[in-house]
């Protein structure tokens, strides 16, 4: 039986995992990890390289099997007898780092159709799933269907790769550093697409990211990994309040958060926790305008005096 509440899509309970277990090279990558992903959430996982982020998300769809503990998808323990991992991997779509390196078909459509066809979807359903997936990631079906995926721009290639996972119609989309190695235009393109998937299409999304600025803008909840454990969890605002701890983990906070902390340390009364440029603008403007008003008056008096 399961005590999962209805809104948990993925639950990781007391999971431990060791790479190359039983060999001299054994390395414990996860220790007693508990994470819960709720339906409809956009969660970001942050942490430095080697903190266990990628290991954790590979547990979400059963690519890795925990040494101990449980992984539940939709309330079902995925390692219990009788659970088909094939179904789990369809429910939880995993987009790896540099997914465009895995494109291989001759046309965009063939590439996106690969997984659903392999899962035994009928041709008519595959066609529909491919069109739908391309629509969702804003790729023009008519213009691109017969093109080679290798001729596309970096941002487009990555969206083809994401569409290939979406075509399986997963409930949860898990993306490992979806903007890694992209130029700013490509990054915005892919992040915009992810936000759209979440807001307009209702996908539950988990993404691994190294950009504190990006997660401050996008994520509803952060999970901070450090040394194979969950070190913090909460809204971006709650997490970025703990700046020193984050810095000690080799992470940081958005520049504007660091700025406000620096000003607070110098005696500027801080009014709120700032994590975006807009918030910093609203927090600082009154003091700056007030001060400049006084300064102008001072100048005029000075002129009179001279």
């Amino acid at each position: 039986m399961s005590d999962a509440t209805s809104d948990a899509v993925i639950e990781v309970r007391d999971v431990c995992y060791t790479y190359m277990r039983g060999t001299p090279l054994a390395r414990q990558a996860l220790t007693d990890v508990n994470v819960r992903i709720n339906r409809g959430e956009l969660v970001a996982i942050i942490g430095r390289t080697g903190s266990g982020k990628s290991t954790l998300i590979q547990h979400f769809n059963g690519l890795l099997k925990p040494d101990s503990g449980h992984v539940l998808v939709g309330g079902r323990d995925i390692w219990r007898k009788g659970v088909a991992l094939r179904d789990i991997r369809r429910q939880v779509g995993l987009v790896f780092q540099y997914p465009e390196h895995q494109l291989f078909e001759e046309t965009v459509v063939a590439d996106i159709a690969f997984a659903p066809r392999n899962m035994g979807m009928s041709q008519a359903n595959v066609d529909e799933a491919v069109r739908e997936a391309m629509r969702v990631v804003d790729l023009d079906y008519d213009a691109l269907c017969d093109r080679s995926p290798f001729e596309l721009s970096g941002g487009q290639k990555r969206r083809v790769a994401i569409a290939g996972v979406l075509a399986m119609r997963p409930e949860v989309l898990v993306l490992d550093e979806p903007t890694a190695g992209m130029d700013p235009r490509g990054r915005e393109e892919v992040l915009g697409e992810i936000r759209q998937l979440h807001e307009a299409h209702g996908y539950t999304i988990v993404l691994v990211s190294h950009s504190m600025e990006d997660v401050a803008r996008f994520a509803e909840r952060l999970v901070v990994m450090d040394g194979g454990t969950v070190a913090m969890e909460g809204s971006a605002r709650e997490v970025f309040r703990r700046r020193e701890e984050l810095v000690n983990m080799g992470l940081g906070v958005p520049q504007v958060t660091a700025l406000m902390a620096e000003l607070a340390a110098r005696g500027l009364p801080s009014t709120e926790d700032v994590i975006t440029v807009d918030e910093a603008l609203r927090a600082l403007l009154p003091a700056l305008l007030g001060a400049s008003g006084r300064a102008n008056e001072g100048e005029r008096e000075g002129e009179v005096g001279a």
Partner: protein, 288 residues
């Protein structure tokens, strides 16, 4: 002083006359001096990498000339000298490592140059010290972090004693810690070793640390100057879809709303100083 790299009115066309003809560079001119750290930013397809590949004669211009310490890259008889003068480091650390230990990997270049064994040992030790990897001589490269691998790749180039290092997005695949390790290394090569460094990057926080920034767009140099000159034009950068550092963007927005900020800050500390001076709280060093 003679520039290490001199790019003169260079245009380059891929597949000239063919079906895939693309003008990747259009009349680009640029000089890089020894000890200078130049950051090149711009989108994929803007011509950054094409420009970089002209600097050690991987590409030869369609029109115009590139000189490396005065040697024209068209002069095939000087190719060996040119490649020894200008070393390249690429994006993916895993594609650049050839040996099974760190020291063998770093020794690979000088061995190929026919450097005597005793001298190789000295160069390897020196190069590893420069990239802060001393103590990892016997490590297996695949067990290192991304930042460490890139520093080994840089050491491999240093061991050839180049006058210039061109790094084509060396930090793109690294996490923030790895990025700052690599960046600290390349800055030191310029400032302490007098090496000319050309650093191609998508990260504006890295460009901020350069002596000079070159912004490429559509095969041309769209903007160039000190980081402050370049980043004081956020509207221009945004029209090119490039980021600016958050503090620069914030200062710009504050100024637009009437705040009396004058300079374009590049770092958190700079903007903190400027705001503190206006509102009359302490300067630096915490509590006032």
């Amino acid at each position: 002083m003679e520039p290490v790299i001199r790019v003169e009115n260079v245009s380059y066309t891929y597949d000239g006359g063919g079906p895939g003809e693309v003008e990747a560079l259009l009349d680009v001119s640029l000089e890089v001096m020894g000890g200078e750290f130049v950051a090149v930013i711009g989108h994929n397809g803007s011509g950054k990498s094409t420009l970089a590949k002209h600097m050690n004669a991987i590409f030869v211009p369609t029109r115009g000339d590139v000189f490396v310490l005065g040697m024209n890259t068209r002069d095939e008889s000087r190719l060996w000298d040119i490649r020894q003068t200008v070393g390249m480091v690429f994006q993916n650390p895993d594609n650049q490592i050839v040996a099974t230990t760190v020291e063998e990997d770093v020794a690979f270049g000088p061995e190929n140059l026919g450097v005597p064994p005793g001298e190789i040992r000295r160069r390897v030790d020196e190069a590893l010290a420069l990239v802060d990897m001393t103590g990892n001589e016997k490590s297996a490269p695949h067990m290192l972090s991304g930042g460490q691998k890139q520093r080994v790749a840089i050491a491999g180039v240093i061991a050839m004693r180049p006058r210039c290092i061109v790094l084509d997005e060396p930090t793109a695949m690294l996490d923030p810690v790895g990025r700052s390790e690599v960046l600290a290394t390349v800055r030191r090569l310029a400032s302490d070793e007098g090496i000319a460094v050309v650093h191609i990057t998508h990260f504006m926080n890295e460009a901020v640390l350069a002596d000079r920034v070159v912004v490429m767009e559509g095969g041309r140099i769209a903007l160039r100057g000190t980081p402050r000159e370049v980043f004081s034009q956020p509207a221009m950068l945004r029209s090119l879809d490039l980021d600016v550092p958050q503090v620069t963007e914030l200062a710009y927005a504050l100024r637009a709303a009437g705040a009396p900020l004058t300079r374009s800050p590049l770092t958190v500390a700079e903007l903190a100083d400027d705001v503190a001076a206006i509102v009359g709280v302490g300067r630096g060093g915490g509590q006032s």
